[in-house]
Symmetry: C2
Subunit: 593 residues, 2 copies
């Protein structure tokens, strides 16, 4: 099929492609995007490609810029997934479906696949598309494919269409990897480390195949031990578990007195959470240290990797307690907090062999550090929608939260004329529309009404009350406060106009943590070296970096999440290729000092 096969070495294909004629290049890229040579043609405008990652992005960009009709044609050009050898498959599709083990489906699975394919096609108007090699590249089982098919059937059409395009790009990625003999070796290893760590899970979750690691449970301690053993195996010079349960590994600089770069993230999870939230920021640096140690290479800075014991605030209301200990803001009153079973944090700590009296010793001297960096899965849809594997964090958003009660007058739904109501829901709705508009106005602010309830509402009663939450975030405090001012002002105005009352309780106010300009530039430089375009974005979620920000400069790198970036959910996912890029970026970052 491809007579012009470029040399085997995996740096070479891109060099070859950059100097090839258009027709040679088109022919070489033929088959990467099923029956759709226009994708490659447009992508070639981006030559010279700086890397395979750049080529992949250029191909995505070509599809993104195409018309919806072209995109739909691309989706429809893909074959229906079959449980047995079908005719009309490209050799790429044939090989992939075979490798995925799909042709070893049971009779029942084959029948269900056929039936679901037909339902899907009838519903959406295009065939179900999935990268059967999966996020690690090693194949999905027939059952896993069927589960995805069932799940994706429930998507909104626009959402599912975008998911199909993402799967097409992922298929193209695995095809290009093979063609270039360029496999994400470290990314796949780090992928497997996440799987290994995810085998530990708290009782009540593990039995259902769910992941939950709450602070200082047996599973939590097993995670810590595993990470500590892993750090030792990677070749860290010092490894210990501190008195809040953080696992700390240090890899010394060439000069032992050189300042240190602090990095890391958390290993606890939410209930029924994802495998990558937090852990990616521990395991990526560990992989880099292992490569350094294997090469007996020392950097100009020391590297200190902290696997934080607690970030999610699940067991105790002491979110970020682990990073708080490093910045010296661990509140001793937290020790008396009790979990749902009445076990105090102090008891939990001593039972785990930790000594709460020594927590103050965990505090770091910021003078000894050049700063803190954190790699984290995005937990949002931005990179996924842009078909970009990495994003540069500009700021961890400041937030403010309220619980609000609108009180109107309950009255008979049939007998209260529309102009004589004090309808709490009508007031809410009028205002909620403006909340959305106001947040959109900023471009990068967000406002969310996540909880909403008419207490004891009845179908035939004009609602006399409406209770809800309001969460507002923006990349800096001034922008957040301006938005909050406008939104709350409108709430008061609308309530006054409608003769209803409102009552607010502010429950959270957290300052924004802008990235340190210099550290952020280092991330940008690393990403540019990988050949990828820079995308700067705020972090809407809070992270350990927010705590470290209180005492030292910080900057974060985001890694794309699959499934529209869903997080705090078992569907949270990223690919071995994206992990590889994160590792590569981290290596470039630390080598740059």
């Amino acid at each position: 099929m491809n007579p012009l096969t470029p040399p085997a070495h995996n740096d070479q294909p891109i060099a070859w492609l950059n100097q090839a004629s258009d027709s040679e290049a088109n022919e070489w890229l033929h088959g990467i995007y099923e029956h759709s040579p226009w994708v490659a043609q447009a992508a070639l405008q981006h030559r010279p490609f700086r890397s395979l990652a750049h080529l992949k992005w250029a191909l995505c960009d070509s599809v993104t810029r195409a018309s919806h009709a072209q995109q739909l044609a691309l989706v429809k050009a893909h074959p229906v997934l079959a449980a047995k050898p079908a005719t009309g498959l490209t050799c790429e599709s044939r090989q992939e479906q075979q490798l995925a083990g799909l042709w070893q489906s049971t009779t029942d699975q084959a029948a269900e696949l056929q039936q679901l394919n037909a339902t899907y096609l009838a519903h959406f108007g295009w065939p179900f598309i999935i990268a059967v090699r999966g996020p690690r590249g090693s194949g999905l089982s027939p059952e896993a494919i069927l589960t995805e098919l069932r799940r994706r059937m429930t998507h909104a059409p626009a959402h599912e269409f975008h998911e199909c395009l993402r799967q097409i790009h992922r298929i193209a990625e695995t095809r290009l990897n093979e063609k270039c003999q360029s496999q994400p070796r470290l990314g796949s290893e780090v992928w497997d480390w996440h799987e290994w760590l995810a085998q530990f899970s708290d009782p009540g979750f593990k039995e259902h195949g769910q992941l939950s690691i709450s602070y200082l449970t047996a599973a939590h301690q097993a995670c810590a031990q595993t990470i500590a053993l892993g750090m030792k195996a990677c070749g860290f010079d010092e490894v210990h578990i501190d008195d809040v349960g953080n696992v700390v590994g240090r890899y010394h600089a060439q000069n032992i007195d050189a300042p240190c770069l602090l990095t890391g993230s958390h290993y606890d999870t939410v209930r029924n959470g994802g495998k990558y939230d937090g852990r990616l920021g521990i395991l990526v640096p560990m992989a880099c240290v292992r490569e350094l140690a294997r090469q007996h290479k020392r950097l100009n800075i020391g590297l200190e990797v902290v696997a934080f014991a607690e970030e999610e605030g699940q067991r105790y209301k002491a979110t970020f307690l682990a990073s708080s200990a490093l910045v010296g803001t661990f509140d001793k009153a937290w020790l008396d907090q009790q979990d749902a079973n009445g076990i105090s944090m102090r008891t939990a700590m001593t039972s785990a062999g930790l000594d709460p009296r020594r927590i103050s010793r965990i505090q770091r001297d910021p003078q000894r550090y050049v700063g803190f960096i954190e790699v984290h899965i995005e937990q949002g849809p931005v990179l996924h929608s842009m078909h970009l594997p990495l994003g540069i964090v500009t700021s961890i958003n400041g937030s403010v939260r309220y619980l609000v009660k609108i009180t109107g007058t309950a009255s008979h739904a049939g007998t209260s004329p529309m102009n004589q109501r004090q309808d709490a829901v009508a007031a809410f709705a009028q205002w909620a529309v403006e909340v959305e508009q106001r947040a959109k106005q900023d471009g990068d602010s967000v406002a969310t009404i996540g909880m909403l309830n008419v207490p004891q509402g009845s179908v035939n009663v004009v609602p006399g009350a409406c209770h809800f939450s309001l969460d507002m975030r923006a990349p800096n405090d001034a922008q957040r406060d301006a938005m909050a001012h406008d939104i709350l002002q409108r709430l008061h105005d609308i309530c006054a106009e409608r003769g209803v009352q409102c009552e607010l309780e502010e429950t959270v106010r957290a300052s924004a943590a802008p990235s340190d300009a210099q550290l952020q530039r280092r991330w940008e430089h690393a990403v540019t070296q990988l050949g990828l375009p820079i995308h700067r974005m705020p972090s809407g979620a809070g992270h350990d970096a927010m705590k470290l920000h209180q005492v030292m400069p910080q900057a974060m790198l985001f890694v794309r999440g699959e499934n529209q970036g869903i997080s705090h959910n078992p569907l949270e996912c990223t690919t071995a290729d994206d992990m590889q890029l994160a590792i590569d970026a981290f290596s470039l970052f630390i080598n740059d000092f």
Copy 2:
């Protein structure tokens, strides 16, 4: 004070007023509206007054047409309610506060009154005003006044301002009654009958002073027995309790074979309900029959009063079972329904001495009836806001109800940009604003979102689901269906635009029951004869008349409710004066055949 006292007979003062000079008339009306002679001046433009009720309405109308500044001055002209003789009271206020027993308050009550008065004044900017003679005209206890003051403190200012005006009109009404020596004798008696009947209440409610009468409980049966005894005492010719528990009283026509007018309403209540919902439509006809019997007067039509045993659908899901038996649509499958304690309707009936096998015999032959009329408390704010005691029902609204689920995609509130959300609440809010607008457009349609919930919503999660109810009603089915079409179309459009799904379940669809033109005209004629303006209005609530509508012409009369017309609530209330007018209207109606 009033040297020009008109003659004592209570028809005469109005005749006198109609021919009095402006200055005589103004002087006579002086003091009715505290320190505000302009109220009387404007009202006198309505002369000649057709009745005392007409004069009262004209005075209300004068206030309604005044500017807000004038209304506020009127409210502020009233004295602060004092627990002991205060200076500066008009003689009317002095006498009322004394009669109300307010000056016999305990020291604690007096202190609380003083403190609450001050808080109220500071909050609203005007003094707390209450007709201390109460809805019956016989006075409120200090504790009852304090309870009202505490409750009304929570009102929205616009709402409370209107309540003060209503109280001022009520004060004026009792002053005019005294001045004209015109007391609502029958209205007060019927008021007391409601109190008597309300002493029966189901266990679990009675202990808390709450009213609840569910189908065939011991208290329910005691009500039926009481009504039956009452009917006999009133002089009905035949009284019996039928096999669904309806109490039926017949007062024969002059000619025993003459057709019959059917009337009545229900004696069951909702849980913790009001005393007047349903019962007013039983007791008003009973009072009229008693007057006829006392006068040994026979009409040209027979009168059949039915106290329906069940209308609220509280114990069994068989709303209107009692009137269904009259129209022949009692569903025998209902007999197997079980209540919350597992007692079937059949068992409940036989335990109460009823024979379910004979229910079919309850069915009436429509040929024998000229129609069905029903007097009912409005259960809405319309008459209250218009300061009108009686309203003419044009139609019992047709209704349709839905339960709706919007399904978007739950995502992280911090990390999901505003333009990449499938936010179920945002879609809901955009649509709910349009629901209100569309219902308002018709003038007499209503649409209500009474239940609303984000299932398992979190403050930091973009809501992936929003569940709610939608209740729509209009005076005729075509209007209801046009509104429902537009509203549901917008729901689908908005969901499609936003890439979220919606799912609807229609739970109720009831046809409108327009009033019979001839019977409605008879009500209008009666109300006109009382000197009151006609206000035609749909009934937003369902009533027994809706069932009877299936087999014979029907028309209803509404009586104003106090407290903004609140119903299904212990605050449901009407005055002895309004009851008197309902009795007078009913008498005129039946005498007119």
